[in-house]
């Protein structure tokens, strides 16, 4: 979760404002939302992902399912794919997740009934970047019709994203081999500070004519973590197909949570549908993204100034909340035990944990870990 420079959680100012508006609106009550969610939320949420000028929206071939966070969106999408994707029983359809990936991806698809979950190459530890060749190779050799879980931006946990050119290569192979793109978009806006930039990959795939799913989370970019605000965007060939898909997703939702929670969706819908509040929100998002970007550049420059062995450009090349530092398990143990700096055994750090007050300490500690421990 995001932290301020004081190391505190941050409720976005625009969220506070909108919550007050909601609290003072006596016309509102706590009645059930429709099964698929608040209509104004669904439309706006998908518009954010696909872009105002999206051809798919203009052609009325998109659908949305309000979900319990990004996890809920992934799960509804996975349950639907298992029932309906390629024939009526997809338990044997391979689902590919990146190596590494957010560990819950595996569980989501497994609990949705997929029995064959495989990995695709992604992180190159030696060069501390994307293993594009490995990735493309896996796409070439995956069985046709396999499902690929792609991180739309700010890959979790590596922070390493394909460049636009690399995305184009990925899309070309996926199109040729009939592979299904299931995007996980948990950091739109939060990664680069720009909503459009962070949605580039999803929009490119749509422009290339793909049918796809995009699981969106508003936990981070709206700071609405515990309200569980998410959206599954469905892009299809035409309105009729999308309508039938939604009708079946409705049945899945009905036996999972019946209808989604109201509060968070109202906040997001109100914000996105008001030009003024929307601008305010974008400003809040940029504040968060900029602070993380600043911490990245400050950490890197300190490490380089200290002369810490190795290269440290990956700290600023990577994007989003997380960074794969490249520290090995022993070095991580040193950081935790000797320096009381908590990071994952994989060497992943949460950039949000860095502040102007602790940058020096963290940089020095990394320096020590790298020089003392091999």
């Amino acid at each position: 979760a995001y932290r301020t420079d004081e190391g505190q959680p941050w409720v976005l100012p625009v969220v506070k404002k909108v919550e007050l508006m909601i609290a003072n609106d006596n016309s509102l009550n706590h009645e059930y939302l429709p099964i698929l969610g608040l209509p104004e939320f669904r439309a706006n949420a998908s518009r954010i992902a696909l872009g105002d000028d999206s051809p798919a929206i203009k052609e009325n071939r998109i659908g949305s399912v309000q979900s319990l966070g990004g996890t809920g969106a992934l799960r509804i999408g996975a349950e639907f794919l298992r029932r309906w994707y390629n024939g009526n029983n997809n338990t044997a359809t391979p689902v590919y997740v990146s190596t590494p990936t957010w560990e819950n991806h595996n569980s989501v698809f497994m609990d949705a009934g997929f029995k064959d979950i495989r990995t695709y190459h992604y992180w190159d530890a030696a060069k501390r970047g994307l293993d594009l060749q490995g990735l493309l190779n896996d796409l070439e050799h995956a069985p046709e019709f396999s499902i690929f879980v792609l991180h739309a931006c700010a890959h979790n946990p590596t922070g390493t994203d394909p460049t636009p050119e690399q995305w184009k290569q990925i899309a070309a192979v996926m199109k040729r081999r009939c592979l299904f793109p299931f995007f996980d978009s948990a950091y739109q806006g939060f990664a680069s500070g720009s909503l459009d930039k962070d949605a580039w990959a999803v929009r490119y795939f749509v422009s290339e004519g793909f049918e796809l799913f995009c699981a969106q989370s508003f936990s981070k970019n709206f700071g609405l973590y515990n309200e569980r605000v998410g959206n599954l965007t469905v892009v299809g060939k035409d309105a009729d197909n999308v309508q039938r898909v939604l009708s079946q997703m409705e049945k899945i939702v009905r036996t999972t949570w019946s209808n989604p929670p109201s509060q968070g969706a109202r906040i997001v819908a109100t914000t996105l549908s008001s030009p003024q509040l929307f601008d305010e929100w974008k400003g809040n998002v940029k504040t968060m993204a900029d602070r993380v970007l600043l911490m990245r550049s400050e950490l890197r420059s300190r490490l380089e100034a200290l002369g810490t062995p190795g290269t440290w450009n990956h700290i600023t090349d990577q994007i989003g909340m997380f960074s794969f530092t490249g520290l090995n398990p022993k070095q991580v143990e040193y950081m935790v035990k000797e320096k009381h700096i908590y990071l994952m055994a994989s060497g992943r750090i949460n950039m949000c944990g860095l502040t102007t007050k602790n940058l020096d300490y963290v940089a020095k500690s990394i320096h020590e870990a790298v020089t003392k421990i091999q």
Partner: protein
């Protein structure tokens, strides 16, 4: 071509269909008796005062929005368990239970269903009363369980077929799962009396069945939260380790906030911890962690003496209004000159009433009188007001005389 060419159009939800048709109707006297939500005597949604107060208190505290634990808000789950089990419950005091926050009643049922699918190896069979809430069947099916039924409602008397229920349940294979509505049976409104619950408990215990209680109307049925939880508590007192799903949608009017809980009564606190760990493993790949808003409101109400007192009063007044509408409907039917026995309307309890009306009669009510209900003759008494009860009685008399 599309990946989805072969995807069939899902059937429309029968209950939503009622509301859709109602909305399209231009008759000024129209009534929506399909709605499964409480309405005040003006036919309007009702936000409880204690809820408004709790919301104001929460806003003033300026809390953050950090993720809840996977199992939910601890103050909420503990208070939910205490509400269901009773503060003097040995099971509650000893800690031999686990309660996780669920997405209202549906989400809690589903967590339980998935948990049974994974860990209750003795049987795949879940026995539902005939009839039961329409969503029970697909919930358990999607969780991978099989559905069976036991006799429950007697359409000839519009009341409980107790001997049928007892007979069927006593023949269920040992270690099957039997689902019971704790109070205010949905859709019939027909509940067993306490003596009958005692007999049911004895059979369940003798046959070593897993009792799964669905309690969506505690407080809302009789107006008394302890009375409505009597069956749940009796079973536990008899040494039956039940599982329980709770909803705060109706009794706190928190419908869209999705506040609910799933409880497993265990042998001891250690078992409860192990069960909890497995429930979390089920929840994480479903939605990671539950929504805060409804749980915070419910928790504040349950844990703040003044608010709790106010809530109990409001819940009683909602239940009382429903009971009063039942009474008025019956007396109005008598005034219309109906010779039928309508006693079941006041015998039944909770939000719903199985009127006994046949499909053709229901259709006439919809077409000729713009009174909307589901084809099975179920009405939501919550949709009846002192302003329209006369019209309803008149219409029912016209189609049944």
């Amino acid at each position: 071509s599309s990946w989805w060419s072969h995807v069939e159009m899902g059937p429309p939800d029968p209950i939503l269909g009622v509301t859709e048709a109602y909305k399209r109707d231009t008759n000024s006297k129209k009534m929506n008796l399909g709605v499964g939500a409480y309405r005040d005597d003006n036919g309007k949604p009702y936000v409880l005062n204690c809820v408004r107060k709790a919301e104001a208190m929460i806003a003033a505290k300026k809390m953050d929005k950090e993720y809840l634990p996977i199992g939910g808000l601890a103050d909420f789950t503990r208070a939910s368990a205490e509400l269901a089990l009773g503060e003097n419950s040995e099971a509650f005091k000893s800690g031999r239970y686990v309660t996780v926050q669920g997405i209202s009643g549906t989400g809690s049922l589903r967590i339980g269903a998935n948990f049974l699918q994974r860990f209750f190896k003795a049987s795949r069979d879940v026995y539902l009363p005939k009839p039961s809430w329409g969503n029970h069947t697909p919930i358990f099916r999607d969780a991978g369980m099989q559905l069976q039924a036991y006799r429950y409602y007697d359409p000839k008397t519009c009341s409980l077929d107790f001997s049928g229920a007892l007979d069927d349940i006593s023949k269920i294979p040992e270690k099957s799962i039997v689902l019971l509505h704790a109070c205010a049976h949905n859709p019939t409104g027909v509940d067993p009396r306490q003596e009958q619950w005692k007999e049911l408990a004895a059979v369940v215990k003798k046959r070593n069945l897993l009792a799964y209680f669905d309690m969506a109307y505690q407080g809302f049925a009789s107006g008394d939260i302890n009375r409505d939880a009597w069956a749940v508590r009796h079973f536990i007192d008899q040494g039956i380790n039940i599982v329980l799903s709770q909803s705060f949608a109706k009794n706190m009017g928190l419908y869209g906030e999705r506040a609910g809980a799933f409880t497993v009564i265990c042998s001891d606190a250690d078992e409860a911890k192990r069960v909890e760990s497995q429930l979390k493993i089920l929840i994480r790949p479903m939605y990671s962690n539950p929504p805060m808003n409804g749980a915070r409101i419910a928790s504040l109400i349950l844990n703040t003496p003044d608010l709790r007192k106010e809530w109990l009063t409001e819940v009683k007044s909602m239940a009382d209004r429903i009971i009063s509408m039942r009474t008025q409907l019956v007396s109005n039917l008598k005034k219309e000159g109906s010779s039928h026995n309508w006693q079941h309307i006041t015998d039944q309890i909770g939000m719903f009433c199985f009127t006994g009306l046949k499909a053709e009669q229901v259709e006439r009510l919809i077409k000729e009188f713009s009174i909307y209900m589901t084809k099975d003759g179920r009405i939501s008494v919550a949709g009846v007001t002192s302003g329209n009860v006369g019209y309803l009685a008149h219409a029912i008399h016209q189609v049944t005389k």
